[in-house]
Symmetry: C2
């Protein structure tokens, strides 16, 4: 192991980054559970027959497929939706509607770029077994509350419905078989110019007149009845503030059948943060039971990239609040006692793990590690039954009693 390195698109998370990731997960989990979703987890590896034939050819090229030591054909999880469909199929007696969330890594051998990794975490929230717009509205409310809980202020939740897009296709006189491919082109309107999309549609055999009809109608389109109800419910839930109807929103995946939703932040430009919608036929197609479903994915890594880039949260380098130094081996017991007392009171306290280290070295360590407070018990403090508390930010020290220390730190 001369130059040990990680694989491209795979990352180590050191303490500073883990603190942000854990905090993001804590906040998301809090919202998901407030809405009555329970967590599940599925294995990292599945039989290839569970994974293949579900995502399309292009996706399968990105999958980690291999033989396990027992020569079984297996693959790493590509998303959380197909494993969830398998779960719905394996445990058909789960109470319905079944509301689950799932926060786990998935693996895709994509070309890496900003916000795109080969191992990344998805946070999925889905509701299975209800075809009411109330369910879709709750998913939108979960997205809104989640992004607010993360501290995002400048975000938009764009909503549309496949039904709106389908009726535009129908009005333009486009063959039903071409609806989905046309929608895939329209989905690129946020990245390409209208002219470029028009060219792409022409290449797909859509006539100039039909394209004109699409773009004419898309601008004046209004929500269908189901989406109108969904939007009305988000208003009732107080979750409408960041929602906007956007008839050009298409979402790339084929399996959506009703409302679709996507959220983006204004800054930084990082692609969509969440994506989802109603998929009433997917579970059956995936081998699950024939149940309607709706849900969303929140991309944890993009969330964390946004928090990082906007410096949304005060970023700490360690969870440790206090370093209890060891003055010398003779005074070690006093330091052990203080550390134990702090921990007993719920304070994250580190005891410097070397009774013979110089004090200077210990202080330098606290500074490098970003520990905010240092406690020192020298012979003088010990004689007076006091401790010296040093605030590393201000550099100020004071001699106080143990009770005062506990009060200060907590």
């Amino acid at each position: 192991m001369d130059k040990p390195q990680t694989l491209k698109g795979f990352r180590d998370f050191l303490p500073e980054k883990m603190i942000i990731r854990n905090e993001a997960i804590r906040r998301l989990r809090g919202i998901f559970e407030k809405y009555g979703f329970d967590e599940i987890q599925t294995p990292s590896l599945e039989y290839q027959e569970v994974l293949l034939g579900k995502y399309g050819e292009e996706a399968e090229k990105l999958m980690y497929l291999f033989k396990d030591p027992g020569q079984r054909n297996v693959g790493l999880r590509y998303d959380l939706t197909v494993p969830f469909a398998r779960v719905a199929s394996t445990y058909q007696d789960l109470p319905k509607p079944f509301k689950r969330y799932q926060i786990q890594p998935v693996w895709r051998a994509e070309n890496t770029q900003k916000g795109r990794y080969r191992e990344f975490y998805q946070c999925d929230v889905d509701m299975v077994g209800t075809s009411s717009p109330l369910a879709d509205a709750e998913i939108i409310a979960v997205i809104n509350d989640s992004l607010k809980a993360l501290g995002f202020s400048n975000f938009k939740i764009r909503v549309n419905s496949r039904a709106v897009l389908f009726s535009i296709m129908e009005n333009a006189g486009i063959d039903k078989e071409r609806w989905l491919t046309a929608i895939q082109s329209i989905d690129k309107l946020d990245k390409k110019t209208q002219e470029e999309v028009e060219q792409e549609l022409a290449q797909k055999g859509i006539s100039t007149e039909q394209t004109k009809s699409i773009f004419g109608n898309i601008k004046s389109a209004s929500p269908d009845e189901f989406l109108s109800k969904t939007i009305e419910y988000t208003k009732n839930m107080g979750a409408y503030e960041n929602v906007s109807f956007d008839p050009t929103l298409a979402r790339g995946l084929d399996y959506y059948t009703g409302p679709i939703f996507e959220s983006v932040v204004e800054e930084p430009k990082i692609g969509s943060i969440t994506g989802g919608g109603r998929y009433d036929n997917l579970l059956k197609t995936l081998g699950g039971p024939d149940l309607p479903a709706t849900g969303t994915t929140i991309g944890l890594d993009r969330v964390v990239d946004v928090v990082d880039e906007l410096k949304l949260w005060s970023q700490e380098k360690t969870v440790t609040k206090v370093l209890v130094t060891v003055f010398n081996p003779e005074l070690l017991l006093q330091s052990i006692k203080i550390a134990s007392t702090l921990r007993g009171s719920g304070v994250n306290a580190e005891l410097y793990p070397d009774e013979a280290a110089k004090l200077e070295k210990q202080l330098k360590y606290a500074n490098n590690k970003g520990i905010p407070f240092v406690v020192l018990i020298g012979p003088e403090e010990d004689a007076k039954n006091l401790v010296q508390l040093k605030d590393m930010a201000s550099g100020k020290s004071e001699n106080i009693t143990l009770e005062q220390l506990l009060k200060k730190i907590k």
Copy 2:
């Protein structure tokens, strides 16, 4: 996907099991952080050159090794120690001593049995860069506090030192090259009879006299100086109550150089719950920097199996506290309002996601899912500005105000 199933040794975790797993992780993380350990995570996949030549031939047969879509030779994480050594090597400027914890799954294609899975979680706590017995004592204190925090009462932390075992080997006149293989046989004393172990030693070329000397000395052995200090420090830390010196404790792995520790519960019989020790040369061997280290692994899956089997914690089926039912579509807004208010007050509240469902169906759902409280707003309650709260355990209902509801539920 006719009969979708999980791979042998791989498990789905449904809500009830996830609640226990999350609670166990929450308690362990609390203890690790109280002792000033920070979390890190490493990728699931590493280059094979990082993994191979580290664990021995037998282990390599159990590894998930394969080519990724880019034809790189890769493998799934086999433990958390080797990736940690890679991290210590990749980021050599991390402040030392470096104290990290890591809670992630590892993969081993073992024969499955009780408490042994192919995908399982390890919780590792290690301290790198200090050769003081204070560090070993803190690891033992972490183990003690962790098992207590999990609610375990009947456990033993057995400690010994490789130095004790080495001097017994030396006294018996055994060649130095045979010390480790002899120790591996002695390690089986908890599973095999002394006679069986004696036979195994004979097969390894240890003479009857040497074996006699080993067993004679092992019974009267006492801790060496380093281990004595370690034990003394655990007493100072108030972490000695479950510790016992056991000169027959050997631990199978070759890399330990000083104190070794292992913990077991009396009931159920499930093997060791934690295992660890000092490994001063391993990091360098693994390609990391030449730093002393000590630490332990806690096996999350065995911990959870113990909690499950002893029913240590009250086991809930859902995190949801209240189901807010929908009486009929006309009264939906009232239900939305109550659900929003409960959520705003931090209560996990589910709104039944179908405005047209019969009340009976909704109550049956709450019952199946194990939701403890149900709220009902019918025309009568609505007219009086009250809600009906039903306690699902007692079956009792009462009409109360929204303020009273919040008070009751919280």
